[in-house]
Amino acid sequence: MNINATLIGQTIAFIVFVWFCKKYVWPPLMGAIEERQKKIADGLAASDRAEKDLELAQAKATEQLKDAKAQAAEIIEQAKKRANQLVDEETQKGHAEREKIIASGYAEIEAERNRAKEDLRKQVAALAVAGAQQILQREIDAQAQNDIVEKLVAEL
């Protein structure tokens, strides 16, 4: 275990190994490790971001759903209102129509009655005249007493 030239050979070997390690071993290994670390860090950051995005999207979706529901409720409300209005209008129209029909019915009836009355009156007049004619035929000229008959007719 004496010190001899082995020391020199060993020192040279040591220097060569360290140089080789520094030049060809350490950089690629460390590079791979650091690159992977970066990848993992990026991946984690991306997943964080995605989670946040998801949360945001969910909040937005909830908001939109709420809006949609409110809108739907409003539309239904409006539709109901409009339906009621229509029903009212139609009912009113119906009423008016009915009134009109009834009124025209009445008017027609009235006219019919008046016409019948007139006919009746004329017939009665004619009957009265005919009666009177038959009564007076012998003594009174129809023409001479026509004004009296007319008067009678008007009084009916």
């Binding site: 020391l7 060993q10 020192t11 070997a13 190994f17 350490w26 460390m30 992977r36």
Partner: protein, 277 residues
């Protein structure tokens, strides 16, 4: 344990490195190198450490080349686990900006760990295989074939690592604080007075030198001791089996811990060198 050894011969054999040196008669091995002085090479330490270093560097390189930032394979996930473990430790300790510290720490941790793990290979396997190859392949006496397979039980190996760290400590000290700042740190602490400059200088120099020295000796001492005890256990006959198991289980904790301590202290020393006090 091979029966033709005495116990002390056996231990000595297991704790001797395969040595190579060049003499006047050409390249010589082992005992022929006993007086080669500094210019001898522990070929087993060098071969095992370089092989394990290549295993680390090429294995990691193969994964790094195919590294994907998508879903990683099991091997890539395992490698990334180690890389991130080292990176976390570096980031929590070293606050300056440097793209050398982290790969340096990774290299030290994995390489030292792999070298330490050789301690768990049963102590007789590799020396016996080497002995057989020496005997039948090269016609050598197997007693003369040495194979110490745990590189971190070789002081040269741990000192080489610590030396590299020491040079970096000096480099970062001067780079971050300037030469003047570094000199001031060595001479004006802990007693901030001109009269104490020599005292400060001695204290600070000892502190500075103690860092690589303690790094190297701690790793070497721990591994050498544990290897020695593995060898001692191997000398006691059949009783060695449960003991060996227990000691090996204990070292599943100790070996990574020593690698971790070496890496951590390297980071701490370099961060101290880079920071102003």
């Amino acid at each position: 344990m091979a029966s033709e050894y005495t116990t002390s011969e056996y231990i000595k054999h297991h704790l001797t490195n395969a040595t190579m040196c060049s003499t006047e008669n050409g390249i010589a091995f082992n005992k022929a190198c006993s007086d080669a002085g500094f210019w001898a090479w522990h070929v087993d330490s060098l071969a095992w450490s370089v092989a394990l270093g290549l295993l680390f560097i090429l294995g990691f390189r193969a994964v790094a080349k195919k590294a994907t930032s998508g879903v990683p394979g099991k091997l890539q996930a395992f490698i990334e686990l180690i890389v991130e473990f080292v990176d976390d430790n570096v980031k929590s300790t070293y606050h300056g900006k440097s793209d050398l510290i982290a790969p340096l720490a990774l290299t030290i941790f994995v390489w030292v760990l792999l070298m330490n793990l050789m301690d768990l290979v049963p102590v007789d396997w590799l020396p016996s295989i080497a002995g057989l190859i020496g005997q039948y392949g090269f016609g050598m006496d197997p007693h003369d074939v040495y194979m110490k397979a745990v590189p971190t039980t070789d002081l040269n190996v741990t000192f080489a690592l610590a030396l590299g760290v020491f040079v970096l400590i000096l480099y970062y000290s001067i780079k971050m604080k300037g030469f003047g700042g570094f000199t001031k740190e060595l001479t004006m602490q802990p007693f901030n007075h001109w009269a104490f400059i020599p005292v400060n200088f001695i204290l600070e120099t000892v502190t500075l030198l103690a860092r690589p020295l303690s790094l190297a000796l701690r790793l070497f001492g721990n591994l050498y001791a544990s290897e020695l005890i593995f060898i001692l256990i191997a000398t006691i006959g059949y009783m060695q089996l449960p003991l060996h198991f227990a000691w090996a289980v204990f070292h599943i904790l100790v070996l990574p811990l020593q690698a971790f301590i070496f890496m951590m202290l390297t980071i701490v020393y370099l961060s101290l060198a880079s920071e102003d006090h």
